[in-house]
């Protein structure tokens, strides 16, 4: 049987959690811009009673009624994001301590937990894409003597706060680091995420674009003679994937493939065997 938990900001229901045997789904009609405002909400039960948010050891968050009886339990990942699934693959939830002293840089003295809505699902999408890129790179370098090491690191972005994403070290046969693929962030201007290939000599940015990438719409002229022109921000972007910006000023991007990646790697680090 499904149970619904409206998430309210004041009198307004911004989203609803639906708990079923298959998991907890987050339903909403919020846009990405609205989610970027990071609205705080409180959970309610179906009868309209506000529930309290508690965090227990073992990375579990529960919504309990006034008697302390948990109505819903949710898992929490290492970055504080709750285990809910947005069917639109956009929104997510995390807990936030609020209360007296929570404004500005003052420490929270006597706080309570609220829920924060945000475009957090984009982080999971970004991490998946970064993981796919690392697998691809690992395959491309299999025939070389270079060694690959995945290491944890954390990123801090205005919208998402701090979260974990791995970096990929590319080392010589004797274990000396030659270059690193560093996750930069899920939120960059004009793209859906960025990873930098960093070596001792240089740095190259690799960006993820959806199919065709962003489009620019321009209206030229006015009245009856007005012409609506639409063009792609980057000419080389066709299918969804990781791209290297060949020339950002000329709007040229090239899809990352084995030959290009090896050329970039040679350019950022002194690796001669490629």
């Amino acid at each position: 049987m499904e149970k619904r938990f409206p998430l309210r900001q004041g009198d307004k229901v911004l989203a609803t959690l639906t708990a079923s045997k298959t998991g907890v789904t987050l339903n909403h009609d919020l846009t990405e811009d609205q989610l970027r405002m990071l609205p705080t909400v409180m959970p309610f039960d179906e009868s309209g009673t506000q529930l309290n948010v508690y965090q227990s050891e073992g990375k579990t968050v529960s919504f309990s009624d006034n008697t302390g009886l948990p109505q819903l339990k949710l898992g929490e990942d290492e970055d504080g994001f709750l285990n809910v699934r947005d069917t639109k693959e956009l929104a997510g939830l995390r807990i936030k301590l609020t209360g007296p002293g929570s404004v500005g840089n003052q420490p929270v003295n006597d706080g309570y937990l609220v829920l924060e809505l945000g475009p957090f699902e984009k982080i999971n999408t970004y991490r998946d894409r970064v993981g796919q890129l690392y697998e691809q790179v690992t395959t491309w370098l299999t025939s070389t003597s270079l060694k690959i090491k995945r290491r944890p690191t954390s990123i801090s972005e205005n919208v998402y706060g701090s979260y974990h994403a791995p970096l990929l070290e590319i080392c010589s046969a004797d274990g000396i680091k030659a270059a690193t693929l560093e996750p930069v962030g899920a939120s960059v201007i004009g793209a859906e995420g960025r990873v930098d290939l960093v070596g001792s000599r240089d740095r190259q940015s690799i960006l993820y674009f959806e199919a065709e990438g962003p489009r620019i719409n321009v209206t030229q002229g006015s009245g009856d003679s007005a012409a609506h022109i639409s063009h792609r921000l980057f000419k080389g972007v066709t299918v969804a994937g990781w791209y290297w910006l060949e020339d950002v000023r000329l709007g040229r991007a090239r899809q990352l493939e084995e030959g290009l990646f090896k050329d970039l790697l040679k350019g950022v680090a002194d690796i001669y065997e490629l």
């Binding site: 972005e157 960059v188 201007i189 004009g190 960025r194 321009v218 921000l233 910006l245 950002v248 709007g251």
Partner: protein, 172 residues
């Protein structure tokens, strides 16, 4: 050089500030129509905003350098003009050589020395602030950590004081 040159440079500085304001708004709203063909594309917003802030600071500093350069040229030319009567000194050959020597030397006088000539014509506190602007200009140009400026200077206050001095000299 006249006060018009200072006005022109300061107006250009203000308009450049407006352009950076517009760039900041384009970054805030991720307006790709505005940002297309720029290096802001592909940057995290916080990085792009930081570039704009850094650019603003550099533009501020270079504007002070530019305002000082125009002002310095003005006071040198003003001083050289006032030295023209030296050429009428008798005997004639001596007078001409004296004038040429002084005219050439003025180019090499330290700004502090030239400014001190204007004591009594320009208020002492204004001369003092002009010297601080010169100090700041030197620091921007040379970044010598052993010669830190006694005061930070921003273009608006530099313009105000340098314009006031030039305007007062133009009225003499």
């Amino acid at each position: 050089m006249s006060s018009d040159s200072l006005n022109h440079l300061f107006a250009t500085y203000r308009r450049l500030g407006d352009c950076l304001k517009i760039a900041g708004r384009a970054v805030d709203t991720e307006n790709l129509r505005m940002l297309e063909g720029t290096e802001f594309v592909g940057q995290p917003k916080i990085q792009a905003a930081s570039w704009i802030q850094e650019t603003r600071k550099t533009v501020d500093d270079l504007s002070v350098v530019g305002l000082w350069a125009l002002f310095e040229r003005y006071v040198i030319e003003y001083t050289q003009e006032r030295a023209v009567p030296l050429g009428d000194t008798e005997p004639v050959d001596f007078g001409e050589r004296l004038h040429k020597k002084v005219e050439g030397e003025i180019e090499r006088w330290r700004a502090d020395e030239i400014l001190d000539l204007f004591k009594g014509v320009i208020k002492p506190d204004q001369i003092g602030i002009a010297k601080q602007i010169k100090e700041y200009r030197d620091w921007v140009a040379h970044r010598n950590p052993k010669r830190l400026p006694s005061a930070q200077t921003e273009p608006k206050s530099a313009y105000n004081i340098l314009f006031t001095i030039v305007d007062a000299l133009e009225r003499t």
